[in-house]
């Protein structure tokens, strides 16, 4: 039995497939930015900033490889403190752009800390869940994990940046799941979240599709429910009633289900309904328009749905080979909104065709595959959880952004990591992937 040959140098242990895939994504992203921002008047500023961020990200990626990632676990309290401080300071000192107070100015650089805080929360939660390894079945673990993330999410919501705050949820779920939390508990907690979000969606759908619903019909009842009145009360009573009936039924059928389950179900269902209605009432008009655009893209072809339609047209018209860099009519002539930021994937789809878009998707899948591999091979549970959290986060953000560009997801102002233009986003993502590379490179724990 031959011993495992362990490379003696750090560079020999680095996952070059992963580095190559990341470099490939950044390269395609750079091309796409250079092409898409071509027609804007601040083109020079854009590519200058992009290359500075690229250099900075590359340096951070390499630097992160140099020291052991476990330092983040050791200094977890400081990391959490820094995160909170950043998010509080951005609300106090930050500069506002387009209604969002999301930017911190440091001299001539401005910096968006929300995405950094997301990665930092992954680090903090990984440490927490590592410590709670023996109490993973406790409901308190789930609640405490949420309690750690809650202040950060709350501060991001205050900016307000609904979309970024939303990306925390799958990330936390992924980490809790991978850490071994009880799936039923997760379903309760995140089922609650999902229900809360789906309530405004259903209400909006009814309002758009059946604006003149007859009184007494189901859509009319749904719309009435959104008014926090008698209809809402009726639904809550119905939920409790049916849960009670289900409980009686279960005992009658001698099923071994705890009565607590039915009580919890009733509380969660009605709670989700009430918070959902509350969210619906507090939604800003641009957010509601995005909901409308998603549930009925044709209803307002010149308003909110315009972006979705134009993005699909851009991607679809690219065909197999694309229209060529600098030649996409949708992006170059201004039909595609946010063409070098949120909708950059549509620019790639249009100008580089199925080959380019497929390549981006493929490279993304390689990156995610290498992150999960790093998780599998990580020398400790902390490294495993960090990788699991980052994999969940990147997968969700990718699904949200590309899904939006191809018309599968509602419009959310989320950039595509490594591709979209945005200096701080690029630097932070490269840094977080540097941590993944670090975890992989130091996988031989026993040596």
């Amino acid at each position: 039995m031959s011993p495992i040959r362990v490379p003696s140098t750090l560079s020999g242990r680095v996952d070059w497939t992963f580095v190559g895939a990341v470099a490939g994504l950044v390269a395609i992203g750079t091309l796409a930015i250079l092409s898409a921002a071509n027609m804007t008047s601040y083109y020079n500023a854009i590519w200058t900033k992009h290359f500075i961020a690229l250099a900075l990200g590359g340096v951070l990626f390499t630097l992160t490889l140099a020291f052991n990632y476990q330092i983040f676990q050791d200094q977890s309290k400081i990391v959490y403190g820094v995160t909170l401080a950043l998010m509080v300071s951005v609300l106090i000192l930050g500069t506002a752009a387009r209604g969002h107070r999301a930017w911190l100015r440091l001299g001539s650089f401005s910096f968006q800390p929300a995405e950094l805080s997301r990665v930092l929360v992954v680090l903090v939660l990984a440490d927490f869940l590592d410590r709670r390894a023996r109490r993973m079945q406790d409901f308190s673990t789930v609640l405490l994990a949420l309690a750690i993330a809650a202040p950060i999410m709350f501060l991001i919501l205050k900016q307000p940046d609904f979309s970024t705050a939303l990306t925390f949820l799958p990330m936390i779920t992924g980490m809790l799941f991978c850490a071994g939390a009880d799936p039923l508990q997760l379903i309760f907690v995140f089922g609650y979240g999902a229900l809360t979000l789906s309530v405004p969606l259903v209400i909006t759908l009814c309002q758009v599709r059946f604006p003149n619903a007859a009184p007494g019909s189901l859509p009319a009842f749904v719309i009435a429910t959104s008014k926090m009145g008698l209809a809402t009360l009726a639904v809550v009573v119905a939920i409790f009633g049916s849960c009670a009936v289900a409980w009686r039924l279960a005992t009658w059928m001698r099923l071994q289900v705890k009565p607590v389950f039915f009580g919890a179900l009733a509380v969660i269902l009605s709670g989700a309904l009430l918070t959902g209605v509350a969210v619906n009432r507090s939604m800003k008009s641009y957010q509601r328009n995005r909901f409308v655009a998603f549930v009925a893209p044709r209803s307002d072809a010149k308003g909110a749905a315009y972006n979705v339609i134009q993005s699909k047209v851009a991607v679809g018209s690219g065909g197999v080979w694309g229209k060529g860099l600098f030649s996409g009519t949708q992006s170059q002539l201004g039909f595609l909104p946010e063409r070098h930021t949120d909708f950059i994937f549509s620019t790639i789809g249009e100008e580089m065709g199925f080959l380019g878009a497929g390549l981006v998707l493929g490279l993304y899948m390689i990156v995610l595959w290498r992150i999960t591999t790093a998780a599998r091979l990580a020398r400790d549970r902390y490294g495993y959880l960090v990788c699991a959290g980052l994999a969940s986060m990147f997968a969700f953000v990718m699904a949200l952004n590309i899904g939006m560009c191809v018309g599968l997801m509602p419009v959310a102002g989320i950039p595509l990591p490594l591709i979209s233009y945005g200096g701080s986003s690029l630097v932070i993502n490269l840094w977080s992937l540097g941590i993944v590379a670090n975890i992989y490179a130091r996988r031989y724990a026993l040596l």
């Binding site: 590592d130 390894a133 992924g174 799941f177 991978c178 850490a179 071994g180 010149k302 315009y306 134009q310 699909k312 047209v313 851009a314 991607v315 679809g316 018209s317 690219g318 065909g319 197999v320 009519t329 949708q330 002539l333 201004g334 039909f335 789809g349 249009e350 065709g353 199925f354 878009a357 497929g358 998707l361 993304y364 899948m365 995610l368 595959w369 999960t372 998780a375 599998r376 091979l377 990580a378 020398r379 400790d380 549970r381 902390y382 495993y384 699991a388 994999a391 969940s392 997968a395 990718m398 699904a399 590309i402 899904g403 191809v406 599968l408 724990a445």
Partner: protein
């Protein structure tokens, strides 16, 4: 520390499975958009980024019989608005205000046009045929308001202006119903179509294929460059049988009559070619294409669309008498020498029928009966011939039926006689009806073009032509030319002796009868006057005539009607005379006299130190040829 191997890392595989599923879904969606539906999205993206600006094709030209253009095209600038994607309606308001000021139009109306273009996402013409000054002003606006563009295209132009207007027709916008019908034929909402006359009748031939420039536009509606263009193809050219000089004489002659309302038609009796067709009041077709919408509106509102020449039905009066005479002579009911006594009145039972000349014509036979248009003579003739025979001859001459000239809106008139009566409710035919028929009154109604065909048939001894005004059509698409051949509608069969007697009578009408004002030295002119009683007012003045150089067959036949013009010989005959003079290229003494008088008046005014109205230069008919 909990190391690798424990801690449930198998759960990661579920997460990886979920990630793979997401990747697969996104990959399939990409394939659906970019591989399966790529062509459809490609089309949508092309629609987005390109706008076709149509350029009106030059319409086919219309020439007179000598190859002069009477309808042609001019280069003109049009103002186009290209809507921008995602534009809010509010942005259009300042543009509408600004354009309204510059083009002198109602901004509200402009705003509606702009909004419609924005809704349909299609280019729209805001103004056509812009004057040069306005054009330069609008060029400045192009920089302020993206989406405003000026293009060059062809526009219909009628060099003679107010000329044969009912025959030529005019160009106008389509109504909603016309637009629905023509949409499939490649017309656009702002296309103009030929209306009325031959612009309308030959719309399919005259219209060309509009060209277009495919322009690349950005999301702001700014033109980025030309992607390609399709040249316009002009329409087919039509050569007419119209004689410009005769037409001008007809239009001008009718305009100078007392009422200025009427019609004149000239036909070549040898071929059935229409030499002139005039209907007054007329209009200037150029005014309907003006840039100034006010002028277009005024012109369209007062447009005399009714073509009296083919759609006006009048009692023929005495111009019907040659037909009665031919029936009587050819059927042997009388001989030319048979004389009747005219005391100025005719008793039939308890009714008294008057002659137009109440003094009476005393003893009168065929030639003088026709020349003096003696009603009593024709009462006798009518009773001898019988209503049925007169009706048969009238029908043979084409009365009571359309001449089938290729124009929309022709009327058949009304033939009245024992046979027609037998088919109506009131079946009985009385001798009183025969008397009315014999002098072309009663229920008899004819159109000027029918009477021109009658005049031609009298001239050529019985050939009733289907009148036509096209000589040939030279198709733009390479089809063999269409060449119009004479079409015989009917032949009035009669003995030569009868024709001789009728034609002799018609000649004497001019040389020493009621048609004396139409005589022209050096030409053989024959004709018949008519003064048709009309229950609605003053008598209608009629004159039918044909003329020939001595020793040659007649080469022009004319029918002139002046509504409420009074006596045919006085009002209608001079118009016909002008037309005949123009046809033979002879100077018009009347016109020359008018010019001399105007000059004299001007001289007098100058000598008296008074401001003189500038003498209107009256071109003599001869100078036109």
């Amino acid at each position: 520390m909990n190391h690798a191997g424990g801690g449930g890392r198998e759960r990661l595989e579920l997460v990886w499975l979920a990630i793979s599923l997401i990747g697969a879904v996104l990959g399939l969606r990409l394939a659906q958009l970019q591989l399966k539906d790529a062509a459809e999205y490609r089309r949508l993206s092309d629609i987005n980024s390109s706008l076709t600006i149509y350029q009106n094709a030059p319409r086919g030209r219309i020439y007179d019989r000598e190859g002069r253009e009477i309808a042609t095209n001019q280069a003109a600038s049009s103002l186009i608005f290209l809507p921008r994607k995602g534009q809010s309606v509010r942005d259009l308001e300042p543009l509408a205000q600004e354009l309204g000021r510059r083009l002198n139009r109602d901004p509200q109306e402009l705003l509606e046009t702009l909004e419609r273009a924005d809704r349909d996402e299609s280019a729209v013409r805001l103004a056509e045929n812009l004057p040069r000054g306005t054009m330069f002003q609008l060029r400045e606006l192009q920089t302020l308001y993206p989406g405003i563009t000026l293009i060059d295209e062809a526009r219909r132009y009628y060099p003679y202006g107010r000329f044969a207007s009912h025959l030529l027709g005019f160009m106008g916008k389509m109504g909603p119903r016309e637009w629905r019908e023509r949409k499939a034929k490649g017309y656009r909402a702002d296309s103009r179509i030929g209306k009325m006359g031959l612009e309308g009748a030959f719309e399919d031939e005259l219209r060309g294929h509009d060209g277009g420039k495919r322009m690349e536009v950005d999301a702001q509606g700014r033109l980025k460059g030309e992607l390609g263009s399709t040249p316009s193809e002009p329409g087919s050219n039509i050569y007419l049988t119209i004689d410009t000089a005769v037409q001008k004489a007809a239009d001008g002659g009718l305009r100078k009559t007392a009422t200025g309302r009427g019609a004149a038609v000239a036909i070549d009796p040898r071929t059935g070619e229409i030499l002139a067709m005039s209907s007054l009041p007329d209009f200037d077709p150029n005014a309907l294409l003006s840039t100034d919408p006010g002028e277009v509106k005024r012109s369209a509102q007062g447009l005399p669309e009714f073509n009296n020449a083919i759609a006006g039905a009048y009692p023929p009066g005495s111009t019907f008498k040659p037909i009665v005479g031919l029936a009587a002579l050819n059927e042997g009911r009388i001989t030319p020498s048979d004389a009747f006594f005219c005391p100025g009145r005719f008793e039939l039972g308890s009714h008294t029928f008057l002659c137009w000349d109440h003094k009476g014509h005393k003893r009168i036979s065929w030639i003088m009966g026709l020349a003096q248009s003696c009603d009593v003579y024709f009462y006798n003739l009518g009773l001898k011939t019988g209503g049925d025979r007169i009706e048969r001859y009238a029908r043979a001459f084409g009365l009571g039926a359309k001449t089938n000239v290729a124009l929309r809106g022709e009327k058949a008139g009304h033939l009245f006689g024992p046979e027609t009566r037998s088919r109506s409710k009131n079946k009985s035919w009385y001798d009183g009806d025969t008397l009315n028929l014999a002098i072309g009154q009663g229920e008899l109604l004819v159109t000027p073009i029918q009477m021109a065909v009658v005049a031609a048939a009298l001239a050529n001894r019985g050939t009733v032509w289907r009148p036509h005004y096209t000589r040939k059509i030279i198709y733009a698409d390479g089809r063999p030319d269409y060449v119009q051949r004479p079409e015989r509608a009917a032949v009035v069969a009669a003995k030569d002796a009868a024709w001789d007697q009728v034609q002799e009578g018609l000649r004497v009408v001019i040389s020493s009868g009621t048609g004396y004002p139409a005589r022209i030295p050096g030409l053989v002119v024959s004709g018949k006057t008519g003064t048709a009683q009309n229950p609605h007012g003053e008598d209608h003045a009629w004159f039918i005539t044909y003329a020939a150089r001595p020793g040659e067959p007649a080469s022009i036949a004319v029918a002139v009607l002046v509504e409420n013009g009074g006596h045919g010989g006085v009002t209608a005959a001079p118009v016909a005379k002008k037309m005949i003079l123009a046809y033979f290229g002879m100077p018009d003494p009347d016109a020359e006299r008018e010019v001399r008088e105007a000059e004299r008046a001007a001289h007098r005014a100058v000598r008296a130190g008074l401001p003189a109205a500038a003498p209107k230069p009256m071109m003599s008919a001869g100078a036109l040829r």
